[in-house]
Amino acid sequence: MAHFVEQIIFGLTVGSVYALIALGYTMVYGVMKLINFAHGELFALGAFVGYIFLVTLNWGGLLGPALAIGCVAIIVCVATALAGHALERVAYRPLRHSDRLAAVVSALGASIFLQNVIMVVWGAQYRAFNASLLPTIVWRVAGQSVPLIRVFVFLTAVVTMAGLYLFINRTRFGLAIRAAAIDQGAAKLMGVDVRKVIAVVFLIGPALGGLAGLLVGIYYGQINFNMGQMYGLKAFTAAVIGGIGNIGGAMIGGLLLGLLETLGDAYISGAWKDALAFVALILILVFRPTGILPERVAEKL
């Protein structure tokens, strides 16, 4: 158990990335009751947009790591937000009045399309991020090693999520998003422009996913055109574990899934890592399909 704390830190790092991606699924589901199956591809797109600036244009070498990562993070968020917006316009908005299955098929189609666009542009091989982007500092805390890069990924994700949490719970527009997620019709009667809420959700969710893609690129040092599939599936699992549609649930679900995977990897077997995640998904779907967070109060009389 000597490395238990290290495993926990590792788990939280991975989990915070899952949580960021899961937020995109859960926010879109909350307002539109639609699983955006193309979300994993937006995540991958974020990684590749980061690749353009950090590797192809070598901003890391030109600007220094802190400034480069800061600027690129903003560019990635804007780019994926715009891509998400376009996706909503093209793949989902025309189907708003069709039945749910049509939107699901459209989502799957958009996913395949985006994945292939990334492959055509960047090729099918793995692409490497600059290894020396962040200095390889490893702190020793009470006999445990704490690498800077893990702390960086974790803190970036947590600060972003805290910002989102405040936006949703403390601002007027956040109130509108929550209202639209509970009852779109009633929200309209309050004067909420639900179309605008959906548009904004489709900016925020993809931006968070794109940021997660950038973090994964920096953290693991390599990216691939179909990386969105596995991460998308894991993050979707995290969203379901926390209760799909529930923002706090997505954050907690992501962290829990990260911990489960890492601890399973360390103490059971690395081969079982992915299986564990999906066993958790199946167990949740069977025994507590509303997710682990306590159910919100009944909306009826």
Partner: protein, 240 residues
């Protein structure tokens, strides 16, 4: 006398769901300050009419004017911004939000304005809401949720208030107090359209009434005359 346009005017309104017409050429008008009730059995098209006024369903024919401006072409949040506020059937309060958050949502179209005064006014009208302002709306009783639904609508400072079945499912004593409150709101200057199945109580309150039957207007008259109308008595007031 100068002709003042009515506050709200429906001209041959037709609303269809799929191929079925729920409202078939309804014309009615409401003057500023009036309390008008729309009566009719289930499926008469009352709620559909209110939903069309609020812009939640698109009419397939006819026109709706508010203060002379055509509003059936607007989107729902634009209609709300004009001051046409609906408290919908079944209350539709936001269950997982607190009472106070629900009230603040009611004032959504008035950003940046100081809501303290309006909140205080609603709490004076419904002291129960004040006691429960931090409580989740979903945990309120049916009567309290109705108070919240009306209070939430008032937070928008309505020029025209649309109330859909505010007495549905409430205990008789509570119905009486809700209706008294509606009267008070009207007397404070808010024009009201009240949709009700409780025809007797609604007619006692209202200035005028319209009676719908499967999407058609069958009667329109002053409330006290509708109360004494044998046709209405037979069909809606339960008199034999």
């Amino acid at each position: 006398m100068v002709e003042v346009p009515p506050l709200l005017e429906l001209k041959s309104l037709v609303v269809a769901y799929g191929g079925v017409e729920a409202v078939r050429g309804l014309s009615l008008s409401v003057a500023a300050g009036e309390l008008v009730t729309i009566l009719g059995a289930n499926g008469a098209g009352k709620s559909t009419t209110l939903m069309a006024i609020s812009g939640l369903v698109r009419p397939s024919g006819g026109e709706i004017y508010f203060k002379g401006q055509r509003i059936d072409v607007l989107r729902s949040h634009e209609v709300v911004k004009l001051g046409v506020i609906q408290s919908p059937e079944g209350r539709r309060v936001f269950g997982p939000m607190t009472v106070e958050e629900n009230l603040k949502l009611g004032a959504f179209t008035r950003p940046g304005q100081n809501l303290e005064l309006d909140l205080r006014r609603v709490y004076e009208l419904f002291p129960r809401l004040f006691e429960r302002k931090k409580q989740m709306a979903g945990t309120l009783s049916g009567g309290e949720q109705q108070m919240l639904a009306i209070g939430r609508a008032l937070m928008a400072q309505p020029k025209l208030l649309l109330l859909d079945e505010p007495s549905l499912g409430l205990a008789p004593l509570l119905v009486k107090s809700i209706f008294q409150t509606i009267k008070n709101i009207n007397q404070s200057g808010v024009t009201i359209i009240l949709v009700e199945q409780n025809a007797q109580a609604a007619l006692k309150l209202a200035d005028r009434g319209y009676v719908l039957d499967v999407g058609n207007l069958v009667l329109a008259d002053r409330a006290e005359r509708l109360l004494n109308n044998p046709q209405v008595r037979d069909a809606y007031l339960g008199a034999r």
